[in-house]
């Protein structure tokens, strides 16, 4: 088990709690993202996924607990911690007035990337996602899917050792989802990097994530590889979806909702 302040561990969350006034959003969360690992965080709406991710990137101050990115605390020392991560937020709300090219220039400046490297990477990623032709148009005029692609390029531009992705496949077409999945799998395979990914899409989590954590009402209810999670539930032929419903005790809720809708 890595020790506290472990500089080799992409992410360590220990006893994390987040409250909105009297409302608890996350309670005593404990998890790690290991080198070479994609960790998928599953949960229903309001389960606390986005709050957790926002604490990791330093957008939110936890009520209790600690977050460490390669040993750096994003609350106490935000700049060094933020240098080590790339973030895709839940909504692609950016500078509408800037073009993707101008936005990437701003990011390259803030991240102090060498010009040649930044240019080469931006060209390569824009081409990979098929949006070179849109790179000079203001973001306000681009589709949600294209903005999402720009966010992925922005997160990858400095090739950080930790990627924090909040619903990264939202608004993307199937071809781009496939490209992004391949790219992310290779990203952690080729170097000791880590990815923390939140998603509602079970097949993506099942296919892409090395380990999965199931968050319900702010608490981590189950954690492990898909095989480990499914092993405890022999009657889970429906894959991760069945596992998820079982862990969160949602089968009865789903049955009741469908029954109540009959005849509506």
């Amino acid at each position: 088990m890595p020790s506290v302040g472990d500089r080799a561990l992409p992410l360590r969350i220990d006893g994390l709690s987040v409250r909105y006034g009297p409302l608890p959003a996350v309670s005593g969360l404990r998890l790690e993202v290991r080198p070479g690992e994609i960790y998928g965080l599953l949960g229903s709406n309001g389960a606390g996924k986005s709050s957790t991710l926002r604490c990791v990137v330093g957008l939110q101050t936890p009520s209790a607990g600690t977050v460490e990115i390669f040993g750096e605390d994003p609350v106490r020392r935000p700049e060094p911690a933020r240098t080590l991560l790339g973030y895709v937020p839940e909504s692609p709300l950016l500078f509408d007035a800037l073009s993707p090219h101008e936005f990437l220039e701003f990011l390259a400046g803030v991240r102090r990337l060498p010009a040649e490297l930044a240019d080469a990477r931006s060209r390569a990623y824009l081409a990979a996602f098929g949006i070179e032709a849109e790179a000079g148009r203001p973001l306000a005029t681009l589709s949600l899917g294209t903005r999402q692609k720009v966010l992925l390029v922005a997160a990858l531009l400095h090739q950080p050792p930790l990627l924090v992705l909040d619903e990264p496949f939202n608004n993307l077409d199937p071809r781009t989802v496939r490209i992004a999945k391949e790219l992310l799998a290779a990203y952690v395979r080729d170097a000791p990097r880590g990815i923390l990914l939140s998603t509602h899409t079970m097949e993506i989590a099942q296919a892409l994530c090395h380990r999965i954590g199931i968050l319900d009402e702010g608490e981590l209810k189950a954690e492990g590889t898909y095989a480990e999670l499914a092993a405890g539930r022999p009657g889970a032929p429906g894959g991760l979806e069945e596992v998820y419903l079982g862990v969160t005790r949602s089968e009865a809720v789903v049955r009741d909702a469908i029954r109540n809708l009959r005849g509506v």
């Binding site: 935000p78 509408d96 007035a97 220039e105 701003f106 390259a108 400046g109 803030v110 010009a115 148009r137």
Partner: protein, 554 residues
């Protein structure tokens, strides 16, 4: 759906618009963590009310000053050579134009929020007929300006009636006040429409950027008009008097322009003798006919206005079909990257663009005005000093607007390793650059006609540390407010409270050395003292700014 139902739906939409005007969540701003969720809506409504009150107070101030200027005792100072009814008409026309400019400017300020709130696109998917949707949009737009518009409609006629001691004179100004409000709204929406269609979708590239800045000059005009009328008021009155004496037909033609025919009505109501204007009886009748004739185009404007807010809120930007040229990525140091990003945002946004352009336009107009009447070198130097001082104060006054760009996409930007120092320095650099560019323009205009142009350059340089101090103070203060409490400045209209709180100390810092210079009889010792004082201010502000940005880390 009738107007009553549209008003009810508009009230719900207005609550959302108020919320977006303050919290801008649809522009990527995170909600303040400390605030209780139930309080957010109430806080937004209160803050929007405060802003309306502040703008209305400013409009009421213009009305009060105009009413004071109507007094014969003030006329002795401002325009003794002008016939009193003509003088009154000129004062009221100026007041109407000032109020039109202020409403137009605030309209442009709120426009990005009006469009960014995406309220109308949400309504567009509901089964509401387009005509009803347009009614909701119109009511939403009008409610944003209800108090300022009422201030113009009621206070200016009321104050005029009191000042002229004649209730009929006050009532006679109501049509002019109504026309002013109508035109201000129409101009704000028409320029906004232009913004969405031609500028928002404009691609990158030097030509497109130059074109965008060219368009932005259009938006700087209303704000600049406020300044120009205040600065050149006495000259305008003298020109009117000269025209009345030499070319009565020319004067009549000038008086036919809006809003003179309406501004003449109170004077005619108070002094019904046609000859008192200094024009023939026929000319006065012509002006009365013109006032009535303007009702036709104004009715068309009102009709256009019925559907304009709805159409604008659903308009899509014109996209250039040609693929933009591929360029290499240029990497700049963080503070410069912030500055360039802000300039790029300003070039595509009327709310920010005019702040950059206003001091530059002022420099061009005042610089050009030094050629009028061939003044001597001493006068040119004095005019140059006054213009540089005005540039400094204008840049400082509008500086807080630069911070509003920080709220766009701020949820994302706050995840970047961007030191608070870089944000504050980048925005301060923009403010100082705007001052330096306009001041250098003025030096260029006057260099050939003053005895020692280097002294004017020294004056510009002596003021520079004060501008730096003012910028650092304003930006660090707004940074502290934004991180410590709530993000308080989405635009100059709804963020008026924080903008004023930052701009007043900033103005004091920028104005201190200027005042010292004005009190000194000798030029060079004055500039020396000014520089020392400015450097002292900078030395005092730097630790405060550092403390604010260190204590309130993002």
């Amino acid at each position: 759906m009738g107007w009553r139902a549209a008003f009810r739906l508009g009230s719900v939409a207005y609550r959302e618009l108020s919320f977006q005007a303050i919290y801008a969540t649809r522009q990527g701003q995170p909600l303040p963590e400390a605030a209780a969720t139930d309080d957010l809506g109430r806080t937004a409504a209160r803050r929007v009310r405060e802003s309306k009150l502040l703008v209305s107070a400013l409009l009421a101030g213009i009305s009060a000053v105009a009413a004071t200027a109507l007094s014969p005792r003030v006329q002795i100072f401002l325009g003794p050579e002008v016939a009193p009814p003509l003088y009154q008409a000129a004062v009221l026309a100026t007041a109407l134009l000032l109020e039109l400019s202020l409403l137009w400017t605030t309209g442009l300020q709120i426009l990005p929020t009006f469009l960014g709130s995406r309220i109308l696109p949400t309504l567009a998917v509901l089964p509401i007929p387009p005509a009803d949707r347009d009614r909701v949009a119109l009511l939403l737009f009008l409610r944003t300006f209800d108090l300022p518009a009422l201030t113009v409609l009621l206070l200016l006629p009321l104050f005029t009636g009191i000042a002229l001691g004649n209730a009929a004179a006050g009532l006679a100004l109501v049509p002019g006040a109504g026309a002013t409000v109508l035109l201000a709204f129409a101009l704000a929406l028409a320029t906004g429409d232009h913004f969405v269609r031609r500028v928002q979708g404009s691609p990158t590239g030097h030509r497109a950027t130059a074109l965008r800045w060219g368009y932005l000059v259009l938006w700087a005009v209303p704000a600049f008009a406020i300044y120009a009328f205040v600065s050149f008021g006495p000259e305008l009155l003298r020109a009117l008097a000269a025209l009345a004496a030499t070319d009565p037909n020319g004067l009549t033609a000038l008086l036919l322009c809006f809003p003179f025919p309406y501004a003449l009505l109170p004077a005619l109501a108070a002094t019904p003798s046609a000859g008192a204007l200094g024009l023939g009886a026929g000319a006065t009748d012509l002006l009365l006919v013109a006032a009535a004739a303007y009702a036709g185009p104004l009715a068309l404007v009102a009709r256009w206005l019925l559907a304009a807010p709805g159409r604008l809120a659903l308009a899509a930007a014109d996209t250039d079909p040609r693929a933009p040229t591929a360029r290499r990525l240029r990497v700049r140091p963080p503070a410069v990257a912030v500055l360039v990003k802000d300039l790029r945002i300003a070039s595509r946004s009327p709310a920010f663009g005019y702040v950059v352009l206003l001091p530059l336009l002022e420099a061009v107009v005042l610089g050009a005005s030094t050629f009028v009447n061939s003044p001597g070198p001493v006068t040119v130097f004095r005019l140059g000093v006054a213009a540089v001082a005005t540039s400094a104060l204008l840049a400082t006054f509008f500086g807080p607007v630069f911070f509003a760009t920080e709220l766009m996409g701020s949820a994302y930007v706050r995840s970047l390793p961007l030191a608070p120092r870089s944000v504050v320095l980048g925005k301060t650099a923009l403010l100082v650059a705007v001052y330096a560019a306009s001041a250098l323009l003025l030096v260029g205009f006057t260099a050939a006609r003053v005895v020692a142009p280097a002294i004017l350059l020294l004056f510009v340089l002596a003021e520079l540390p004060a501008l730096l101090a003012a910028g650092l103070f304003e930006m660090a203060f707004l940074f502290r407010v934004s991180v410590g409490r709530e993000l308080g400045l989405t635009n100059l209209y709804t963020g008026a409270r924080w903008a004023t709180a930052a701009a007043l100390p900033g103005l004091a810092l920028a104005g201190g050395p200027l005042l010292l210079y004005a009190l000194q009889p000798e030029r060079l010792p004055g500039i020396g003292l000014m520089a020392l004082f400015a450097l002292g201010e900078l030395a005092a502000v730097v630790p405060v700014a550092r403390w604010w940005t260190r204590r309130w880390r993002r």
